[in-house]
């Protein structure tokens, strides 16, 4: 799709630094145009026909520009485009654009740390979060979730798996795990402490970072033994460092990946859920998953995860 509102910033960002350019950047910064920074590539697929009805049903969204808060450190889901860093690319980006196209709104992006995704939404600095975030009941206290993927985690370890880690189990006793602040894996690993104690082993240690790249670096530098996260992210890391990293195993977690929307806007939530349903029905989601090498069986029919 064509994104509007960024025609100015794109050529600017590509051009060399110069006086005119700098002056424009200042002006743009004041108007907030480039603040949200980069924008996306195109979601090239056709919009499902039912979307016309949805646009008629939710006319208030049409023509709007909404802000999508993302943690763009997860290649495959969301990251900047290495060939054109002014753009964000990935499955989540394409899915968000598809939902926007279906309902008639545009998206701009706000890059924040993982832990700040939901607080940014709560503060009204973003309208929606589509950033590979797992929909848990705890997180639902901060936002309503609409699920769209099942969760498969991979266990990333150094080549040869020197600690013999084979899942979120007692094989991790005494090991050091790198995780991002706010990740659902953190409490799961912490819960191993009691089991480890029972068999007389030290509890696993957790190092907290704030993006995937730092977690991967922690293993590469030998500071951590494992990083457990979305299997596609783990596969991406192994592909980038085939001589140094490997995936020990894959585990299933009892969660789903969800789109977070503000808790006080039921109409918007309904609209997003309806659009997502149409996108799945039309086969567009599967198409996008193929494009980004996500296994098809990861797809999940939309359901709501709300606070208890």
């Amino acid at each position: 799709m064509k994104t509007t509102g960024f025609k100015r910033s794109l050529p600017l960002a590509r051009s060399a630094a110069g006086a005119v350019f700098a002056a424009n950047m200042v002006a743009a910064a004041f108007t907030g145009a480039t603040l949200t920074g980069a924008t996306v590539a195109q979601a090239e697929t056709a919009i499902p026909a039912a979307c016309a009805d949805l646009q008629a049903k939710y006319p208030s969204l049409k023509g709007k520009t909404l802000v999508n808060a993302i943690n763009p450190h997860t290649p495959g889901y969301e990251s900047i485009d290495p060939n054109d860093p002014t753009k964000y690319i990935g499955f989540d980006i394409d899915l968000g654009e598809a939902i926007g196209d279906c309902l008639g709104f545009d998206l701009t992006y706000k890059a924040v740390t993982f832990a700040a995704l939901l607080t940014t939404l709560q503060a009204g600095q973003a309208d929606i979060v589509i950033s590979d975030i797992y929909a848990t009941v705890d997180r639902a206290k901060a936002a309503d979730f609409i699920t769209y993927l099942k969760v498969f985690d991979g266990v990333l370890v150094a080549k040869g798996n020197p600690k013999g880690i084979d899942g979120i189990n007692t094989s991790m006793c005494g090991a050091v795990a790198a995780e991002n602040t706010g990740y659902v894996e953190v409490p799961l690993i912490q819960a191993l402490a009691a089991e480890c104690e029972k068999i007389g082993k030290p509890a696993p240690e957790i190092q907290l970072y704030d993006n995937n790249a730092n977690c991967i670096q922690a293993i590469l530098s030998g500071r951590a033994d494992t990083y457990i996260n979305d299997v596609n992210t783990v596969d991406g890391a192994v592909k980038a460092y085939p001589d140094k990293l490997e995936k020990a195993t894959a585990v299933t977690l009892p969660y789903s990946v969800g789109i977070a929307v503000p808790r006080d806007n039921v109409e918007f939530r309904d609209a997003v859920m309806a659009a997502l349903t149409e996108i799945q029905k039309s086969g567009l989601q599967v198409e996008l998953m193929k494009k980004w090498n996500l296994p098809e069986d990861q797809l999940e029919t939309p359901k709501l995860v709300l606070a208890e």
């Binding site: 960002a13 200042v26 603040l35 900047i80 860093p85 002014t86 993006n211």
Partner: protein, 535 residues
């Protein structure tokens, strides 16, 4: 290496610099404005303001910048203030920088010599003029290194704006690293960019320091100093200086007028003074410091044209009395009138503001010369005299300069008109200080131990200047001094103070040669045996 150069020249990272620079600039500018306000509040004589500024400093210096960024970005929207990420980050940085900048400003302002501030006051400068003309120019020069530090620290702190989604250099580097896995090339490239930015700040700091350096007016030296191997030349004693000093005392003072060369006709002077109007009237003046009395019911009248020498041991209240006459200090009870006017008290009897007192001081005309000269350190000799004339008496630049040159000639220092105080001898400085006090034609000149801080060989040149003022100009003077022979020579009346009260007074030659009071006798005896002891 190739990747490193690729990222170094990548527009994506280079644009990140624009945000980094913007946040730094906004943060520093906002921090400077707020810092000036906070420093002003802390230095204010109103307690509530300084307490408020302290509380602000405790909060914003005591919490991490990262929390302040998140607060401005995520918490302010809850009360309806929704700032863009750049605005929120700049605001947080400004709020955080403010107390640090305020402390730099306050510290450097407080460090400016108190004596110069007293001299400004004595010249009738309002607190505002003193601040703008005397304190700020000197404080600013000394605070540049600290401000340079602060600017570099703000530049680096701007990277924390990445937590609130500002697309600055650090955020762009991490995003790029996540997408490409080229960790090290990217961070080395952005590290180098930060170094270049910080280096420019250092360059700017050096340039400003050179511009502000009073000792290097030579433009050629300004460039030479940029070179790392350049060393400031040690100020070699000028070949002429030694001889100059020796000759100066007598040689550089203009020849004395006819009056100054003939001996005083004491009787005639006494007659004239007896019928002249009172210049200073002091009634029952009391003042105490922390419960200890310094002035204890003191009465004294000085007539126009009279020269009064105040004598007495250290701590007898001489200096305090002089400072009270000029209203540089408040007192507990009693009254002082100068040319019939009460300084510091309005017509309705209420105490005036410092600015109003300054104006009254200038209107009445009370000049003061201090023990430690208290010349304005950043101004040349000429400017020390001409500046106050422009600022207080509203003289034109031309009038002021003419008057300054004329007075410098009188005190024999025309050749030093462009010298800074720190390049002059103590005697020269004191002569400039006397010229400065005389510039507005004061009705009364107060001299507070004008030669006590001088090396013995420099005392005479100053005393000679003062003697001529008394004889040639008929200036009304009150001098506190330990120079007994000088007092006997020049003063019409000697007043001996002890424990804040007048013990004995009378014609100078009588009191100083045949004192009636045993305490005066004892004091004069000590002075004769060891003048240094009593000083």
């Amino acid at each position: 290496m190739e990747l490193f150069f690729h990222y170094l020249s990548q527009p994506y990272l280079l644009t990140g610099i624009v945000y980094t620079v913007l946040i730094t600039l906004f943060g520093l500018a906002g921090g400077a404005v707020l810092g000036i306000v906070l420093a002003g509040m802390q230095l204010s004589r109103f307690r509530a303001l300084s307490v408020a500024a302290r509380i602000y400093a405790v909060i914003f210096r005591g919490t991490p910048l990262i929390l302040q960024m998140i607060f401005c970005y995520n918490a302010l929207p809850m009360i309806g203030i929704k700032l863009t990420a750049l605005e929120a980050a700049s605001l947080a940085l400004a709020l955080n920088e403010a107390p640090f900048i305020a402390e730099i400003i306050r510290g450097n302002i407080v460090a400016v010599d108190r004596g110069q501030i007293a001299a400004g006051q004595a010249l009738g400068m309002t607190p505002f003029v003193t601040m703008v003309r005397i304190v700020v120019p000197q404080a600013f020069r000394t605070m540049i290194p600290a401000l340079g530090n602060e600017a570099v620290s703000a530049l680096k702190n701007s990277s924390l704006a990445s937590v609130v989604s500002v697309q600055e250099l650090t955020l762009r580097s991490t995003q790029l690293a996540s997408a490409t896995f080229d960790f090290f090339s990217i961070f080395f490239a952005s590290g180098l960019m930060y170094l270049v930015l910080a280096g420019s700040i250092a360059g700017l700091q050096i340039a400003v320091e050179i511009m502000m350096d009073l000792d290097h007016p030579d433009p050629k030296a300004r460039f030479a100093r940029l070179l790392p191997w350049y060393r400031t030349p040690v100020a070699l004693p000028d070949a002429n200086e030694g001889t100059e000093k020796a000759q100066e005392t007598a040689a550089t003072l203009p020849p004395a007028g006819a009056k100054a060369t003939v001996p005083l006709d004491r009787a005639k002077r006494a007659q004239a003074i007896a019928v002249s109007r009172p210049a200073v009237e002091i009634e029952n003046l009391t003042k105490s410091y922390n419960g200890r009395p310094v002035l204890d019911g003191l009465d004294l009248t000085v007539r126009l044209g009279e020269v009064v020498a105040l004598l007495g041991p250290s701590g007898s209240g001489k200096s305090t009395l002089l400072r009270c006459i000029n209203r540089l200090e408040p007192w507990d009870s009693g009254a002082i009138r100068v040319i019939g006017r009460q300084l510091g008290v309005g017509d309705n009897g209420r105490v005036l503001s410092p600015a109003a007192i300054a104006n009254a001081r200038a209107a009445v005309g009370v000049g003061m010369v201090f023990q430690n000269f208290n010349l304005f350190g950043h101004l040349t000799a000429r400017e020390n005299i001409a500046g106050p004339l422009r600022w207080v008496q509203n003289a034109t630049a031309r009038e002021a300069d003419t008057r300054a040159d004329e007075l410098l000639e009188r005190v024999g220092l025309s050749h030093r008109a462009d010298a800074l105080p720190r390049h002059m001898s103590g005697g020269q400085q004191q002569r400039v200080a006397i010229a400065r006090a005389l510039a507005p034609n004061p009705a009364v000149l107060l001299l507070d131990e004008p030669t006590s801080a001088l090396d013995p060989e420099l005392v005479n040149e100053v005393l000679e200047v003062i003697r001529r003022l008394a004889v040639e100009d008929g200036l009304t003077m009150v001098i506190s001094t330990h120079q007994i022979s000088f007092a006997r020579d020049v003063a019409d009346r000697a007043v001996f103070l002890a424990d804040g009260a007048i013990v004995e007074q009378g014609p100078a030659d009588h009191v100083l040669t045949r004192p009636d009071n045993p305490r005066t006798r004892q004091f004069l005896q000590i002075m004769k045996e060891d003048p240094v002891l009593a000083g």
